[in-house]
């Protein structure tokens, strides 16, 4: 197969990345911001798999495997940080979490 031009996959990947960027910028709930970051990681994975498959080389897919490992570690630690913040401030609204803001 592979009859579809690879630009279509790359356009979908670019679209999902920009939607993730917009999600990080417009949402105020810290957990939804986190989910938007996951969306951006997935769009990067999609373009890596596209190039790996069209070039017939498995290194891109190995890289996707490591990205998934880092994403799992990041989700665990990030959600633990969000729980710790919620315990102290009773909110996950990132407009109200501003102790480092000057």
């Amino acid at each position: 197969m592979l009859t579809i031009p690879m630009e279509y996959y790359l356009i979908l990947s670019a679209f999902m990345f920009t939607v993730g960027v917009a999600g990080v910028l417009i949402r105020r709930n810290a957990i939804v911001v986190f989910m938007s970051i996951e969306l951006m990681l997935n769009s990067a994975n999609l373009s890596l798999v596209t190039f790996s498959s069209y070039l017939g080389n498995s290194i891109g897919q190995i890289f996707v495997f490591f990205v998934m490992t880092v994403a799992a570690a990041e989700a665990a630690v990030g959600l633990a940080i969000i729980i710790a913040i919620f315990r102290n401030k009773l909110t996950v609204n990132i407009d109200e979490i501003n102790i480092f803001k000057w």
């Binding site: 630009e7 979908l12 679209f15 498995s58 190995i62 996707v64 880092v70 665990a76 959600l79 729980i83």
Partner: protein, 171 residues
Amino acid sequence: MNIEIILFIVLASIAAVTSVMMITRKNAVISAVFLVLNFFSLAGLYLLLNAQFIAVVQVIVYAGAIMVLFLFVLMLLNTEAEHQLFVDKKGIKFFAIFIAVFVFIQLAFLIFKGAPSKSLNPDQAASIKAGTIQTIGQQLYTNYIIPFEVAGFLLLAATIGALVLAKKKFE
């Protein structure tokens, strides 16, 4: 229209629509469910790209483990829905959307201008071979053994870090 193009159109439109729905829903739990749908359609796209191992790992790790963690934290914290999503700070939010659209147009221009499909003709047999768990496992345990071990150590560190951070108080 062969079956590959039909599957691509269906899966790609599900992925695009669910990603937009995810950032526009007021209720965070509904956002998480749309993100799960997005991950499943991406797994289908990986299968179309002959990446069978990555497709299975996508369903198990992303749609399974990570999203269960997200939904667990969402329901544990019971955050209020963002009723003011497009009401307050309107100017900044529309500026953010404008920036995102502008970046997308730039990326699309670059992709179609670069046109990577014109300069390479995909080899179907090599592509299928690259996606099998046999090839990836062999590469992981020979050429990429040190990154593999480091990734395992990173997961250990993340487990300990999450335990320490989420614990009630420090002794």
